[in-house]
Amino acid sequence: MYVAVKGGERAIDNAHAWLAEERRGDVAVPELSVAQIREQLALAVNRVMAEGSLYDPDLAALAIKQARGDLIEAIFLIRAYRTTLPRFGGSNPIETEDMTCDRRVSATFKDAPGGQILGPTFDYTHRLIDFKLAADGDVGTAPASTPSPIATPHIMSFLDREDLIQKEPAGADIPDDLTRTPLELPANRALRLQSLARGDEGFLLGLAYSTQRGYARNHAFVAELRIGAVAVEMDIPELGFAIEVGEITVTECETVNQFQGSKSQPPQFTRGYGLVFGMTERKAISMALVDRALRWKELGEDNVGAPAQDEEFVLYHSDNIQATGFLEHIKLPHYVDFQSELELIRKLRSEAQENINREVSE
């Protein structure tokens, strides 16, 4: 005799209770505070803000805590929260030229106004595990200087002055919002950049790397990589002018790429662009390379069929929340469709076997 299995409700409740316990871990170990995550796991917080498309370090830190350090899960929490927020309006474009740079490097000019600022980078650390960190310890204070009050001009502006770099056509005043209108292809560059800015870091890294290895190769020089705080301003119609509503840290990467020319136009460099919330330079550089690869049509290049050139491929697969949801859904029950396949394959096999038997007997 068989009694049908039930208990979905109880299973879920128990699973959630267990999850909460596991999240906390050994209670003999002090609990992490949100402030500790925000301050000491800042790059994880930055990634969650960038791919969650919501600039709120405390909330991102909380999401990381709730997600047990699974950053994609934390991004998911932020995205789902973000959708429910009312929208008061749009900010004016940020002026990265006015950025207070914590870091600013150019690979194309040894020096330029504003100088090279190495900043707090892993770049030249030797990747040796620092066992001192295993124990509690004070850190020394880093030498400090006052930030320059003068705006740091973009390296690109010097190339622009000489007409050496391709001009960017002005886009629509207010770009479409990827999160409010369904993606339609071909997408304009504003939409592509939005999609890349919130796309999965690992996916964009892989695509960008593939362009370096020859899949739509387009050698990129990092004209400039800058990281720092910028003011966010918003027009207030009642006041008739813009007011500063906050300050955010962003990473901006501008690449100079191989040039194009034609009979009517002398050769010019072309550009790729990356802009990401927080200190996220791997992502910003990847974004600039993929942006550049996606521009083959407008720049009159050949489509060599590389993944990074395929707008539909890139845009439909860069979102890790979409990807992880669909990927993981295959662990949901599929008894019904699998059963229909089982029946089909049994039928096909028995028919095939009959044919074989008949041929043998003939």
């Binding site: 859904h329 229909s340 029946e343």
Partner: protein
């Protein structure tokens, strides 16, 4: 109830989804793009169906959720709880008592009435997607009513396997115009797509909504010499003895012994209440304590 807006979504989002549903009903089988929101559950787990249900539900509704035909599967439980919490709607496991039914992979065995709405969760709404990965291309094919690729695929199945090798998500043509993916229901369910109730399909990740109004012509694609055949396991339900319902196959012992039971748990329970007992079943009352 909770701090959320009724049925979770904000009103602007609901209006956008409602407009898409109306256009879907006006153009049966055509996939209407909609600006799917990021829901508090994963893409691929019913976000499209959930958004459609949220746009359709009223506080007076009685809501049922099934996954694989069953009310007690974990994802069905999770979605049902979501709407209990955010919409405060009454819930039921009885197909006949539900005014809105959200489903994944099945159409209930019981015929739906004119006052019932069936909301499908759809993973990949584009029936041509596995033949042509590009959305730009498939959109053109629908525009030109160019479905040769699909017929070629079905024909190749026949030449290779002697049969159409599609068992679920079996493509249909709606009202003689659009080829449509009925979601991954077994082809056994395809004939039920012509029904009295309203059918709405939501694909959240792929940002598409489509619909079949009542009594709309829905034809499963086939060939004259290989007509469409809805199939199921050649057994009766071991619990309720039903011979007309779609069956789940269970492995019951280490030797690989099998038993079959209705995938539609409400249908099975009702039959057992009426006194039907299958080969391995027990009378209804005995396991309800």
């Amino acid at each position: 109830m909770s701090d959320y807006n009724f049925a979770y979504l904000d009103e602007q989002t609901k209006r956008m989804i409602r407009r898409a549903i109306l256009k879907g009903l006006a153009i049966p089988g055509y996939q209407v793009p909609f600006a799917s929101r990021e829901m508090p559950m994963p893409y691929g787990w019913g976000t499209g169906g959930v958004q459609v249900s949220a746009a359709v539900l009223t506080p007076d509704d009685t809501f049922k959720v099934i996954d694989q035909g069953a009310d007690d599967t974990t994802n069905a439980v999770s979605i049902r709880r979501f709407f209990q919490k955010t919409a405060g709607v009454a819930i039921t496991e009885a197909t006949s008592k539900a005014s809105v039914i959200q489903t994944r992979h099945r159409i209930p065995e019981e015929n739906l009435r004119a006052d019932q709405i069936l909301v499908y969760q759809v993973p990949i709404p584009e029936p041509l997607r596995f033949l042509e990965p590009s959305e730009v291309e498939t959109r053109k094919m629908h525009a030109l009513e160019e479905y040769g690729l699909m017929h070629v695929k079905l024909y190749e199945d026949i030449s290779q396997h002697g049969d159409i090798a599609t068992a679920y998500a079996y493509p249909v043509k709606v009202e003689g115009r659009y080829v449509m993916d009925p979601s991954p229901i077994p082809k056994f369910d395809n004939p039920k797509l012509e029904m009295a109730g309203i059918q709405l399909f939501g694909a959240g990740r792929e940002q598409r909504i489509y619909a079949i109004p009542p009594y709309t012509q829905v034809v499963s694609l086939d060939f004259d010499d290989y007509p469409f055949q809805p199939t199921k396991a050649d057994h009766a339900c071991d619990l309720c003895a039903a011979e007309d319902s779609y069956l789940d196959e269970l492995i019951v012992d280490d030797e690989g012994g099998r038993m079959f039971m209705c995938s539609d748990t409400d249908y099975c329970a009702n039959r057992r209440k009426q006194g039907h007992v299958g080969a391995q079943g027990v009378p209804y009352a005995e396991d309800q304590a």
